[in-house]
């Protein structure tokens, strides 16, 4: 057991899998000798050899196509896309090929690939280093999408994703790499030091895909969040004074619908929080599911707190980023109806 930040935890998951499964292979832009622009693959080439962890051309479509072909030939590739914004050139490969290969070939071929990519804002990355594209993956039948919020989960979920025989998009909240973040800019930076979720075993362990975590128990409202927003939600709940239950979804496909419905059935109120722009975002699916399944329990409209329906603007990062204050207000609103 060691204290790990999220970078170290992910690095450890990759290290464990490179060591225990010769079919695993890591590749992507700058992941080899250099160890990745966020240092997530640091030391892996040196330790496991250049054939296990290597640089690729700047060609996200090519990276994913190559991974699928390798996956169809018995390997278990773990490609990295440098920023989630740059998954888009590979979108056709992910949707038309990775997601559909098993179904269309009646199980003759499949794509056991795990696509790691840092997503989300809060680092002044501007429009193309800040986006949260989970909604467009969630709609694609045949893709799983996983988003951890702690170092422990990051390692355990990543090992599960790698060992999963289906294609998994593994989105890493880059704002959480070095420490938890409550959504309020300008405070002194926190590290993961001292947080229980940063106690991470060195060895192999898994956190199963499709099981949400109850990050905070509460009686009066349910907050649904994932990734960076789990920490923002904690702060927002505290600020609101509402006794809200916080569910960290951890994977949005598969979605842990039971934990969600059990909670909202109990609390009767639901606020959904995500960083992606609101319209057509994953919050819509969550709201639709919750009202379908918990309609008679609901005491208030389900609220969505999310990025505005604009691109992610550099100077206005902290006007755009859905912070704890917006959540607190939403909680206050849903509590008006008793």
């Amino acid at each position: 057991m060691a204290v790990m930040n999220m970078i170290q935890a992910i690095n450890s998951a990759l290290d464990v899998k490179l060591a225990d499964d010769p079919a695993t292979l890591i590749f992507g832009e700058d992941v080899g000798y250099f160890g990745g622009v966020f240092r997530v693959t640091d030391g892996l080439q040196q330790k496991h050899g250049i054939k296990r962890c290597f640089d690729t051309p700047i060609s996200e479509g090519g990276i994913i196509a190559t991974a699928i072909g390798m996956g169809a030939n018995g390997l278990r590739p773990i490609p990295e896309i440098q920023f989630a914004d740059y998954i888009l050139p590979a979108f056709d490969q992910l949707v038309s090929e990775a997601a559909r290969l098993r179904y269309r070939s009646n199980g003759e071929f499949w794509a056991p690939i795990t696509v790691r990519s840092p997503y989300g804002g809060g680092i002044f990355g501007g429009q193309t280093h800040s986006q949260s594209p989970e909604a467009i993956f969630a709609h694609i039948t045949g893709l799983k999408t996983v988003i951890p919020s702690t170092p422990y989960d990051a390692k355990g979920l990543l090992i599960s994703a790698i060992e999963d025989d289906d294609p998994v998009i593994f989105l890493e909240p880059k704002r959480l790499y070095n420490g938890p973040f409550n959504g309020v800019q300008g405070q002194p930076l926190k590290t993961w030091e001292g947080f229980a979720e940063a106690q991470v075993p060195d060895h192999h362990f898994t956190v199963p895909l499709g099981q949400a975590a109850i990050a905070r128990e509460g009686a009066d409202a349910t907050v649904l969040a994932y990734g960076t927003m789990v920490h923002v939600a904690k702060a927002g709940i505290e600020e609101s004074g509402v006794d809200a239950e916080l569910i960290d979804l951890r994977s949005i496909v598969p979605l842990d619908i039971e934990t969600i419905t059990a909670s909202v059935s109990k609390t009767g109120r639901c606020v959904i929080l995500h960083e992606a722009s609101s319209f057509g975002g994953f919050g819509g699916e969550l709201a639709a599911q919750v009202q379908e399944r918990c309609f008679w329990a609901l005491k208030s409209p389900i609220e969505r707190i999310a990025g505005w329906d604009t691109p992610y603007p550099h100077a206005f990062e902290w006007d755009y980023f859905p912070g704890p204050g917006r959540l607190a207000k939403a909680l206050a609103r849903v509590m008006e109806n008793r």
């Binding site: 060609s59 072909g69 030939n73 050139p89 098993r102 070939s105 039948t141 598969p254």
Partner: protein, 410 residues
């Protein structure tokens, strides 16, 4: 000083057009059929830098000036190739008619292009993998994939090996070295490279054959696959079926006149061969050369097979609307079945009579395969259990499909 805008500019938007449209005179005079550098067969281990002219030549055996590329195949194998090509043609004609009879929704033929499916199938090994286009039914037929199974797939009936999930002819046949097809063109070209890299990674000498239509070379996938193949020296054969047409669009909309598809290899640092695709022996020889190169650890080869799409694009197409009706007759490289047959006859290894007899046998086989498939059912008459629609989205079903299956009551 910075303003250089000249008045009366000679610029104008240039949109290429084919030599002839319906009513015009078909001609292929603008295409070079010179053997050029490819009169010689270089060592498969030769460095790429010495091979840059091959993309402008033409590898030929039947009717070629030299015999450098003659793969020296025995008569038995030549007859096998002839048989598979003839069988493919008969199969496709029959299924085309089945579509017209309403027995399925869609069908595609490879008439006049059979050598490109058949020769690599026979040449390559059981553990090599083909990443086909939809014009390679010949690959399966050459490897004796059961015709009845093919027809079950085409009919999407209860015995369809792909369980009704796929459009006709978008087969998958792992045990026959035939990777899963899909309706999207081009998107498996890079899978061939990844597959080959995995083979190399394990130190195996299995090669991947990726195939793409000449029209589809314009997709980004083509470039990405070649880039990765060149850099990681993937043991892959990346081949272009240049059958002159992409639905109604002529090949001049895929690459400008005066260049060749094979020459696209040059920019990727791999050899490019331009090959008579209607010459069974040339196709075999080129694949063999590239496979030897790949197995020797020298990496990938790009091959352009010159051929002609004698049929329409698919059952949804009517080519007389966009090209001269007699264009096929002007195609200088003839017909692959006729050419191989003539060669065997010339060798004294075949005769008209044996050919007629073979066609009769093949027709009988086909008829009984079709009968067997129709006993199961044609499209709409028979299908796998509806519950199977929900299987295989993931390895294990999640609650969504479980609930939905229940909702549908199956």
């Amino acid at each position: 000083m910075t303003a250089r805008d000249a008045p009366g500019s000679p610029t104008d938007l240039h949109v290429p057009e084919p030599v002839a449209r319906p009513g015009g005179h078909a001609s292929f005079d603008h295409i070079s059929f010179d053997e050029g550098a490819a009169i010689d067969r270089p060592s498969p281990e030769a460095p790429e830098t010495g091979l840059r002219d091959y993309g402008y030549g033409l590898v030929r055996v039947l009717g070629g000036a030299g015999r450098a590329w003659d793969p020296g195949i025995d008569a038995e194998m030549l007859r096998r190739g002839l048989r598979a090509m003839a069988r493919t043609r008969l199969f496709e004609d029959r299924m085309f008619r089945a579509h017209r009879q309403g027995k399925t929704s869609f069908f595609m033929k490879s008439t006049g292009e059979e050598a490109i499916g058949v020769a690599p199938s026979l040449m390559l090994g059981a553990r090599d993998m083909c990443f086909p286009t939809y014009r390679m039914q010949g690959w399966l037929i050459a490897r004796d994939y059961p015709l009845e199974m093919m027809i079950n797939q085409i009919y999407s009936n209860e015995k369809d090996p792909l369980r009704g999930r796929q459009l006709p002819i978008l087969y998958s046949a792992r045990d026959y070295g035939f990777y899963s097809l899909s309706g999207n063109v081009g998107s498996r070209f890079g899978h061939a490279v990844g597959w080959a890299m995995a083979s190399a990674y394990r130190g195996e000498d299995h090669v991947a054959l990726g195939m793409i239509g000449e029209g589809t070379t314009a997709e980004g996938d083509f470039h990405e696959a070649l880039t990765f193949a060149g850099i990681y020296r993937a043991p892959a054969i990346l081949a272009i079926n240049n059958n002159q047409w992409a639905i109604s669009t002529f090949s001049g909309i895929a690459t400008p006149a005066g260049t060749t598809f094979a020459s696209k290899a040059i920019g990727y640092g791999i050899p490019g061969l331009r090959v008579d695709g209607n010459d069974f022996l040339a196709v075999w020889a080129a694949i063999e050369w590239a496979a030897q190169r790949a197995r020797a650890g020298k990496g990938a080869t790009l091959i352009e097979f010159l051929t002609y799409r004698a049929a329409g694009h698919s059952t949804s197409d009517d080519p007389t609307r966009y090209r001269p009706a007699d264009e096929a007759g002007h195609w200088p490289l003839g017909d692959p079945v006729e050419r191989l047959k003539a060669h065997l006859v010339e060798l004294g290894e075949w005769s008209e009579q044996r050919h007629t007899q073979m066609v009769a046998e093949l027709t009988d086989d086909l008829r009984s395969a079709q009968r067997a498939a129709e006993a199961v059912g044609t499209l709409g008459q028979s299908k796998p259990p509806v519950a199977e629609m929900f299987d295989g989205v993931f390895k294990e079903p999640d609650w969504r499909v479980i609930e939905q299956r229940r909702e549908l009551g199956v």
